[in-house]
Symmetry: C2
Subunit: 330 residues, 2 copies
């Protein structure tokens, strides 16, 4: 799946080179089938792997020669510009944090992903790296998400919203309330919308959705589950009668274009934002097309210089804080 | 909308009587159009109303003669068996808690609702009454949800799951981890599945989904938003070409039966569980059919004696605790 993904990605990204970490003999065998991948790749041999069942701590201590760790090391020592992995999420985050460290001003990295909305796309973070978040974490996520939306998605003035249980200022827990206050007062040209609710995600009310990793993960997976449920009932309904079957046949190209809107492969590639290096996590269960999409996400973050943008924003906050002693943040 | 809802509800529930709280002159005028409602109702006059913008505290202090408060009082003094309101949720919960009190053993009531799944229906709570919950709150929700699923939904042995960011025991915040431990050891014949993720809601993995009010509210609204998004893209796709339009026309009855699965009116009626009295909240923006559904929910909770079932379960926990001094709960 990985090699097939590289093959597909190379068609759209002809200048990109790959370092492939894994079992040399297996990789060489696979590369014989994909000559264009072979031409654009170097193989780095290791037989160690991080399994999906390992705890992050265990992988961090014991996985020093694993393909995952060596791939992250290559980003750390400048050999590679970014890493893409379909492995264990917790281990990948722990190793990436340990090797790459966070960018100045950021205490915790976040997992972010693009989601389809009625108006286009939005980005949501955190999706599960941080089960509990304080106001400062949320504000840092907001700044990173804003830079992503502006630099990578090309939104001129991204609108930021904090996910909450109501739009009123009084509602919610302390972290979201304090984060909202900070974002209203922050000395950055950020457009802060205020609080949004769960149904605003798909409505496209804002460009950047800020939430803690617990709520974000539940919201993302609830959306995935709901989409599956609707498609299930839709298919069932369209198989229900001869007329429905005929109708479905006629509408087939339309239904296909509909399916494309929700093809999880086209949204594959969760970004670890806030690290001093680009790191993208692919779904383990995706196929070549999905993995190619994760590669494209990583390449975009590199070429659009996401981390440089984040450094500039946090740098100007730092100057502001040192200059005026105005303790708006953190 | 309310009177129309009563009219629709009466067709399925011929023995039910109604107390209508509100402006007498307006109500009498409306009742002229609905003779069967008139025959089954008594009007209780008040001109005071709780507005949607009022804070719960303000409504509690200032709304002593409001239609909402008088309707709840009628449940408190035994005149009515339950109350249904389409008003301000926060005010309704605050007043209901103040007037009706919680059932023995329950520290906080929860908002619960039925949701469609691939396998039928599930119940989820809390949906927003308690932004922050500790393990004991979650365990109490689990017991109440189990009784609801068994007594009202007719599930013989309901399966309970706690919403989390992963299925592994190590994941999640302290509250969900401790609640899971308590539910594994509790001395009630409860079938505890363990942790579930967001996509398990629609998959129907369990019958009862336990979560704090923040996460539950976000998950519910995210599901609503996602359903709207899919229907939006589906309609757009089916309007895209002549062939698609023709196909949609042929498949129309099938598409209608599909829509019925997700008609929010048929899921209208959020239940306030844990109060010493039945209280159901209707969406403010629903129509007669939706309000009738909320009435039916209330009647079901009354006739299936939900609160008696909850009292029995908490009573047997109490006996267990006093008898064996085994401090499994709370």
């Amino acid at each position: 799946m990985v090699i097939e993904g590289v093959d597909i990605a190379l068609k759209g990204l002809p200048g990109v080179d790959f370092l492939l970490f894994g079992d040399e003999s297996k990789l060489h065998e696979l590369l014989e089938e994909f000559p264009s991948v072979k031409a654009a790749s170097q193989v780095r041999h290791t037989e160690d792997v991080v399994s999906n069942e390992e705890s992050a701590g265990y992988a961090l201590r014991g996985g020093r020669n694993s393909s995952m760790r060596l791939a992250i090391n290559a980003v750390g020592n400048g050999e590679a510009d970014g890493v893409v992995s379909a492995g264990n999420t917790g281990a990948l985050m722990a190793m990436a944090k340990f090797v790459l460290k966070t960018l100045p001003g950021i205490s915790r990295p976040a997992i972010a992903a693009s989601l389809p909305t009625i108006r286009g796309e939005c980005v949501m973070l955190d999706l599960g790296a941080n089960v509990e978040c304080n106001a400062d974490n949320l504000v840092q996520f907001a700044i990173m998400g804003e830079v992503y939306s502006r630099n990578v998605m090309g939104v001129e003035q991204p609108l930021i919203g904090i996910l909450n249980v109501g739009e009123e200022d009084l509602k919610g827990n302390d972290a979201v309330k304090r984060a909202a206050t900070i974002l209203q007062e922050i000395n950055l040209p950020i457009k802060f919308y205020g609080f949004i609710e769960g149904d605003d995600i798909a409505a496209g009310t804002v460009d950047v959705i800020i939430t803690d990793g617990f709520t974000g993960n539940v919201a993302l997976k609830t959306a995935e589950g709901t989409a599956k449920l609707l498609v299930h009932f839709m298919k069932k309904a369209l198989r229900g009668s001869m007329m429905a079957r005929l109708g479905a046949l006629l509408a087939r190209p339309a239904l296909k274009s509909f399916n494309k809107h929700f093809d999880p492969r086209l949204y594959n590639g969760a970004m670890f934002l806030g690290l001093n290096g680009i790191c993208v996590k692919s779904h383990g269960g995706t196929d070549g097309l999905g993995f190619a999409n994760a590669i494209e996400v990583a390449v975009k973050l590199i070429t659009d210089d996401l981390n440089e943008g984040i450094k500039i924003d946090f740098g100007s906050l730092e100057v502001e804080r040192n200059g005026s002693r105005k303790a708006t943040f953190p």
